[in-house]
Symmetry: C2
């Protein structure tokens, strides 16, 4: 790999501002231009430039406002097809990791306006055959303006009365179609089995067949009775996703009934919608990432999870879906583990939040997940993996709990199987556990 | 192409509900599975299913709530790389156009919850090597709930005193860096030249170097003086993009100063943020599509413009960026023209809105654009194409106006050039016009 680091000729390399007054955005790009030239096109488009130099675009304006190339490092090509509309000789195409430095003054510590600069029109630049935002370094000014998660790991554990160990949760399945009575029955069964957390499916919004208000009315009395009896109330994340103007009322409906969590589909209400909800919410916000694949799955386009999760955390989610290992979706275990690690890394001075592992999860993944992550500050959701247990949901929860406790004690999978009948029974449906 | 249309075995093909009670989503997919099987995986994931059949998932639940395959038509492969993580034998990979039918009751006429169903986790399904939402057919219930554009073409023309002919606009350039005094001077120059519309760049949000309030204070007195003198006030679209909680105040700042338009970056405040703004706004909403490339440029993933623009229109934008022909971005003229056509197609009972053509636009594209679109109900924005005119911005506007008027009269480009000095001068910088 060649290091071709340089700054743009028009801007000069020396600036008076301290590093906190800038945002650094890291991209993976591919281009048939010289890499330096492509970097310049990108930096220009996203700051002072248009396609011809215009009146009043003085050298002084360029020096103060232009984005600058911080570094540019060639990478091997991935072999993926160039993005449609990419121009230039395919034979000269190169891939690089590019860091651009944007003066904070261009947009201020505003998440929406930040995105116009670091993730706006640039995806449409025809000189780029790949353009993916892979990381963001943000100055403290963002954390000063955005309070971020109000609860995080600690607040979530407190509310669900689970001070240590993996937080075990589930998703109501079938996703949609249960009557309020069926839902209440299922929730009672899960609470009885010692579940920490239950969530609505992302497909269960506020449709006429199961309005939020009816679900709240069905679920909360069951949880309140359970809490009265046991002293612990499982956390139920009601999906309150809807128009922005309904979020406050939806939230209040949950909280007034004693609910301790609200769930929002981040991409459906927008990061800005999450931030709006955060201003009002008095319970943790469970951040679902539905649609995230649409902006991230291509290796040539969009956002990496690492970059996107910073925006989601600043916007205020307390829990963030990361997927889990051996999942039923497209991500490899390495990608999932990197996502979990990213969510657990400190972000400015904000509270640590809870990575949410889901999709194809069951008891047999506990040991492998614990070995790879080294933590139990995780919310592990098993939908089918609990409801599909041959002895029912309660046995599904017991299997998860036994397996995670065993993993945390440092035991082998074999030891866990030997000591847990529910875990052994689970293997009859889900196959062999991962070591 | 083989028509392999079928309905899912579990759901049956007969339903009692009228067609208005459903949403039809059209996708382009690629898969190594049998096409019918892939369609079933997708329909299941996005409605009742999880990865194993669970308790309470009765045949009755499936019949009422399952998404159904409406049609499935094989298409030729495009040759683009499969999405990362796609499973199956590459040799058996096929491409298809798939229509799924979702019961409206699953989510109700809620745009955010609709998206969880038609554009949520499905992008992550590993059985799919391509998955792009290319169209949406929505029932009237959405238009009953969402009022959509309040002004559209007619309201916009009225406010800018331009009852007919192409609406000619520009973007303040340089994008960022002008002082309030420089901005006022530029706006005065453009108003004098007879411009219909001026907008902030999407990079000009509310940063410390040019706060919205200062821009409003600089611009509006100039436009008011111009209106007093001439009877017509050019429309200025102030970019009010910011946190949701600031949109109302930002809007009010503009309106109280006499402003007649607010601009929002749709993806930065979210479609839901646009809808929130729409509830409050008393002026047209100029919808910028920055970041759209990030969800659309891949031919294997994300949203087509045709699908996405319906969501944007229902959310309430009055103007929507479509790009223009011969643009500096990646889209072909055919794609751009399809986008313009899509925006001009009726959507339920909503008002027609204004397609906004921009990027690399100048006078020399007027004839080709008019020939291809057959309309002047367009807002044509030239940034560099006006500011970069050799005789300055005023001559840039005159060239645009002359060229569009000539095109509408059915003249040839040569005739237009012969009769317009500003147009002729423009060709010295921008080259030959398109016929």
């Amino acid at each position: 790999m060649t290091d071709v680091t340089q700054t743009l000729p028009a801007t000069g390399s020396q600036t008076a501002e301290p590093p906190t007054a800038h945002v650094i955005a890291t991209y993976h790009i591919e281009t048939s231009l010289e890499l330096e030239r492509a970097a310049e096109v990108l930096a220009g488009e996203q700051s002072t430039g248009t396609f011809v130099r215009v009146a009043r675009e003085s050298d002084d304006v360029r020096a103060r406002f232009a984005a600058q190339v911080e570094s540019l490092e060639e990478l091997p090509l991935t072999g993926s097809s160039p993005l449609p509309g990419a121009v230039g000789d395919p034979a000269t195409r190169k891939r690089a990791r590019l860091k651009l430095r944007f003066p904070l003054d261009n947009f201020g510590p505003s998440l929406p306006n930040l995105q116009a600069a670091v993730a706006g029109n640039l995806f449409e630049i025809k000189e780029l055959a790949a353009i993916k935002l892979v990381d963001l370094e943000l100055p403290q000014a963002f954390a000063d303006r955005y309070r971020g998660p109000a609860f995080g790991v600690e607040g979530t554990r407190r509310l669900m009365s689970r001070p240590s160990g993996a937080m075990i949760g589930t998703i109501v399945k079938p996703s949609i179609g249960l009557s309020p009575e069926q839902l209440a029955e299922l929730v009672g069964e899960l609470a009885e089995a010692g579940i920490d957390f239950i969530k609505d499916d992302e497909l269960q919004g506020n449709g006429p067949s199961a309005p939020l208000a009816e679900r709240v009315r069905a679920v909360m009395p069951v949880l309140e009775r359970h809490a009265d009896r046991t002293g612990g109330k499982p956390m139920y994340a009601f999906n309150i996703t809807d128009d922005i103007g309904m979020l406050e009322a939806n939230h209040d409906l949950v909280v007034e009934a004693g609910g301790t969590c609200v769930m929002a589909c981040i991409n459906m209400i927008g990061l800005a919608g999450v931030e709006f909800l955060r201003q009002h919410s008095v319970v943790p916000i469970h951040g679902h990432r539905a649609m995230f694949g649409g902006i991230s799955r291509s290796d040539q386009l969009g956002f990496s999870f690492r970059a996107w999760q910073k925006l989601a955390r600043l916007s205020g989610v307390d829990h963030l879906h990361t997927n889990g290992i051996s999942n039923k979706f497209y991500e490899s275990d390495a990608e999932v583990l990197d996502s979990i690690a990213a969510v657990r890394e400190p972000l400015l001075d904000q509270r640590p939040i809870v990575p949410v592992l889901s999709s194809g999860q069951w008891a047999g993944l506990a040991h492998a997940t614990y070995t790879a992550t080294g933590t139990t500050d995780l919310l592990v959701l098993a939908g089918g993996g609990i409801h599909g247990h041959p002895d029912g949901s309660a046995a599904g929860v017991a299997a998860m709990r036994d397996a995670w406790a065993s993993a945390e004690r440092g035991e082998s999978v074999e030891t866990a199987l030997a000591s847990s009948a529910p875990f052994r029974r689970a293997t009859e449906v889900f196959g062999a556990p991962r070591a």
